[in-house]
Symmetry: C2
Subunit: 358 residues, 2 copies
Amino acid sequence: MEKIFSYQQLFYFTKSVFLKMGCREREADIAAKNLLVADMRGIDSHGVARLSGYVRLWEVGRINAKADIRVIHETPSTAVVDGDAGLGLVVAPFAMNIAIKKANEVGSGWVSVQNSNHFGIAGQYAMMGLDKDMIGIAMTNASALVAPTFSKEKMLGTNPIAVAVPAGEQPPFVADFATTTAANGKLEILQRKNQPVPTGWVQNKDGDSSYDAHELKNGGALLPLGSDREHSSHKGYMLGSIVDIFSGVLSGANFGPWVPPFPAYVPMPENLPGKGIGHFFGAMRIDAFGTAADFKKNMDQWINRFRNAQSISEKQPVLVPGDPERLIEEERSQKGIPIIEEVETDLRNLAKKLSLSL
Amino acid sequence: MEKIFSYQQLFYFTKSVFLKMGCREREADIAAKNLLVADMRGIDSHGVARLSGYVRLWEVGRINAKADIRVIHETPSTAVVDGDAGLGLVVAPFAMNIAIKKANEVGSGWVSVQNSNHFGIAGQYAMMGLDKDMIGIAMTNASALVAPTFSKEKMLGTNPIAVAVPAGEQPPFVADFATTTAANGKLEILQRKNQPVPTGWVQNKDGDSSYDAHELKNGGALLPLGSDREHSSHKGYMLGSIVDIFSGVLSGANFGPWVPPFPAYVPMPENLPGKGIGHFFGAMRIDAFGTAADFKKNMDQWINRFRNAQSISEKQPVLVPGDPERLIEEERSQKGIPIIEEVETDLRNLAKKLSLSL
């Protein structure tokens, strides 16, 4: 059961929730916009479905609604941002804007972030450079749900990577993906339906392959992209590690199994080596590598050629990264955002608790 | 059947082959060293096994032994290098050195390369920043062997990514991997043995799953990391695309299905949009993001924690990226490099053709 909500309705509600948490007007606005990008682009697990989770983190003191976000180290092309335990939805665009500023000045900008929180989907920050003719890069670490190859233990988050590349007449190339075989959101859908998961998505507490969507609650783990050794799970493990090192180790945030959990009821890891969770952002001006016109012409040709690659089935053309999310965004801009019953209930309970109306 | 060769013997022979091609002394030296890194680190498919392939490319005029490698565009943190159709083994370290120089000056350096050729393994260039306390990044596009998700057509190369990260007391973290499920080298081993390949490595000309190691000769393709849609092959496709765009589109090299093939007998694609093959390199000073001492302490903790993660089997501990190659390198430094009979025959034929002794 789904119900359609207008963007405005969800935006107004989300913003008023952030205001109730004590966010400043402008930051509540930014946070609401950035959370809703996920709902607009069809990544329903990362949008308003998580709003009550942010509130619970604020209630237990893990989110600082009035954060003093600032640069604590920099060179002409790099910086470290301290998010002061603020909302990742506000810290992330602050940091990406610094990467963009530095790219304007010296060709590229690279910003690692400590002391932040969950930032929604990665793609939207990578996309912030598009209208400035920049390639954007965004990644984040997250609490450990993923077992490296040969490991029983969960050591890495789903650690997504996003890369957005401007084109000329074509819509941009936007890749945005978790470094696991299955996104946690897809697992959650099967959990709700009580359906088995495909082989290669999760392992049980002993490290054996499992079909149980609830395995993570019983000591199991998500598997890195590649699933098993024979299909190169070590490559997904390496990718997730790179994201963790760039986001966590480089910035002075937590890393590996010490990254703070999103659910407020999960206790914090002990002996933290850093502060909060970490992100990493990059921006490269396309005219720092030649003329922007040449780049756009070639990128149009790239996109055209890939979209017209001979497909296996006539029913399913080859896609260019960003195509599916853009189509959903176009549809939802027209028709509104479908919200499943469980999430609607969660939002209504939240409205009640905070004396707001949905 | 294998025979052990000393490093010196293979180095001397390889260097004399490059000298016969007309390389300058210093560049023959660099090229031989960089080719042999693959043999030393156990990536046997990319070392002297390819030497006669380089010679054939030179014979048909696709490799320029006296290339005038130069920077054709730059900003303080970025550059484009034109490899002048030179050996990738010489062009790549030239470009990585520029990335390192720029990192020294402004915190990070990013160099995209056009008009190059096959550069051996990616990892060694990423590792060039390690003793300068820099994180190094290296990637390259390659001729199309890989079908994107839903595609019958081969559109991308195995497009590897390498990231090397310095530590303190621990050996460095070195990730170096093709963005496919199976490395082409592993496929070649099964081809020689006439053995079937695991499901998820290749598809046949119709896009169906195949067990035939020879499928690529019959219009089949390698599969992106993830293997199939259910196991997120679109993520491997996105990764390979990012490598292609950074290496090919950004530099003005060829991209996608237009990347020139390594085997000299394979005709060049038509209507090339760029020049040669493309690479992309990055260097980031760790002290551009805080103190080097803090970074190294945290990186040591990262490495220690992951290496000591609880493993599924007592016989197989959890590995840190770079561990397997480093162990092989230590062993081969002591005992020499094992060369299989087929490669030895190939080298002896090459020696005869060029009037050299192996």
